[in-house]
Subunit: 97 residues, 2 copies
Amino acid sequence: MSDLAGWRKRIDEIDQQLVKLLSERAQCALEIGHLKKAMELRTWQPEREAEILRNVVKANEGPLDDAAIRRLFERIIDEARSLERHSMDGGSSFRKE
Amino acid sequence: MSDLAGWRKRIDEIDQQLVKLLSERAQCALEIGHLKKAMELRTWQPEREAEILRNVVKANEGPLDDAAIRRLFERIIDEARSLERHSMDGGSSFRKE
């Protein structure tokens, strides 16, 4: 695969998989939120967040550097947290444009 | 899978796949950068970026809303772009902590 169109096609395929995984991850975070509520645990657990960041940095072999991977996962965690918060408020936050 | 530990394990597995896909995506972006340089095309092509965002929003079925998916992919595209820029400057930007 040596042409521009071929590489772009591969990026589009990867993006479809990323959307699926990010959605499944968000669903897991929602389930965890419900369980934590039922168990009366606090929602924000910074030690778990630190563990997640350690794991992804450890798995990283480039070409993105560790700081970039950490920035991306901080965003992913942040979106999960605000989804969880909206869900706890009783609203469905899913909006299709 | 109804316990907290089980859902967290699933998130950890998803994160390993996300790191792999994000890395492969970044590698594709680097290849595209090299090709564009060889073809003397400009690096930043906003119409391609808009196409990527349209595609991922179209693929989104929640629970993250479309705005959240768009924010995440804006970050992913942004990290790819700065990697490409560093690579064009001749440096390897991959740093392991």
